[in-house]
Symmetry: C2
Subunit: 240 residues, 2 copies
């Protein structure tokens, strides 16, 4: 049985404040929970409506009713399993390979897509400015499709990290050098800016090289979405 | 004043059935409405809460109260302007340049992002299978950022079009030739599949060449999202 204080505790984890306080986050759905159970991320507690769903047993598993799941879930239609996991302690950033840096990316869907892209392209380190959306936000987790466990995500002072960088710092801009002309080195940092404002002035000042994706259509178009641009630039870096 | 029958009429346009019946669609927000007014798409009626917002006058503009806007809007927080526009009659597909073909893309966000990508990369023709999400769906329009007016979108029998094609037909698959090795010709068709199932068997049978984006990370990862994959492949085609 899930008591009232537990319901409140789990529901609170929908908010960043409580996630940070408790160093815990929530993931829902069989596939996503199973993927995290098979990762290096440590489990705190799993709630299931049917003990056979995960094919697992252990102290950390509690069978609850569908009504109870509805009370602790953040979804309109809860999906059999809710897992509470420990937020991993970030490892120091490794600059021997490419690192993506996000300057105030705010949309959870974009953040999730970018984490998934890092995973696809084998980028193991992601640094986010403190004002970027929290990567343990449920909507981010939904978009990452489990890749969150394979990317080391660090929040911090972007300007400080970039200004001290020993590897080349690239940034995505509307008016940079055409990316196709760029010969990327083995390692570097690629900075992607905020959805509405792009890269901030403070960060622009510590960027070594501005790059851009050429526009082939009518010039009246909006810029590319930040997740889409990240996809194209990561592909450019990796294709060699 | 907006009478009851008008409210019902406009609200109904949130549904594909009524859009198809009336050949009309709804767009909300100052920026999006202004962009469509400046395009070749014909206006039917504009509702504004403040006549100065668009800096325009005409028979087709009606000033209404915020309460009235709330009644006709599909948004939780309506934004000053709601426009009703005529669905343009699609032009015949032009195969002298690249064409994107969508095989049952169902997510409005993905459809909108792909239309925006076509516009960015100067792809003027998009063909969608009949089961793909309607491009005049309000959620699609929100993601297109106005580029809907610059892409000719045709719904139809994909298999029929592809089997008769005189230009090369490419398709995105997990197990195709690495896209970096491909020398794309001046024109062709690129087929992108459904979010969950990829390209269907019937369509796969009429595809000349399977291509894929290499995976650089751990091999346990999910496939790339269809909009992200379209971004990378369109970039590959245009970069030359």
């Amino acid at each position: 049985m899930v008591v009232k204080s537990q319901i409140k505790f789990i529901k609170n984890l929908q908010q960043k404040k409580y996630r940070t306080q408790n160093r815990l986050f929530v993931v829902e759905g069989i596939k996503a929970v199973r993927e995290l159970l098979n990762s290096t991320i440590k489990v705190h507690k799993i709630y299931v409506t049917d003990s056979s769903v995960l094919g697992l047993s252990g102290d950390f598993i509690e069978v609850i009713s569908e009504g109870e799941l509805k009370k602790i879930s953040g979804l309109a239609t809860p999906n059999k399993v809710l897992g509470v996991f420990h937020i991993p302690v970030p490892r120091p950033l490794d600059f021997s390979d490419w690192v993506i840096a996000l300057d105030d990316v705010r949309d959870p869907g974009n953040m999730g897509t970018i984490i998934r892209l890092c995973d696809w392209f084998g980028v193991k380190n992601l640094i986010c400015s403190s004002n970027s959306v929290d990567c343990y936000n449920p909507k981010v987790l939904q978009a990452t499709m489990g890749s969150i466990s394979r990317v080391n995500i660090v929040y911090g002072d972007l300007q400080k990290v970039l200004s001290k960088s020993e590897v080349p710092v690239y940034g995505a801009f509307m008016d940079g050098t055409v990316v196709y002309k760029e010969e990327f080195s083995k390692s570097g940092i690629l900075v992607m800016g905020n959805e509405a404002n792009g890269v901030s002035e403070a960060i622009e000042a510590v960027i070594g090289k501005k790059i851009s994706i050429p526009q082939f259509g009518t010039k009246t178009t909006e810029s590319l979405n930040v997740a889409t641009a990240t996809a194209i630039l990561l592909n450019e870096i990796r294709r060699g």
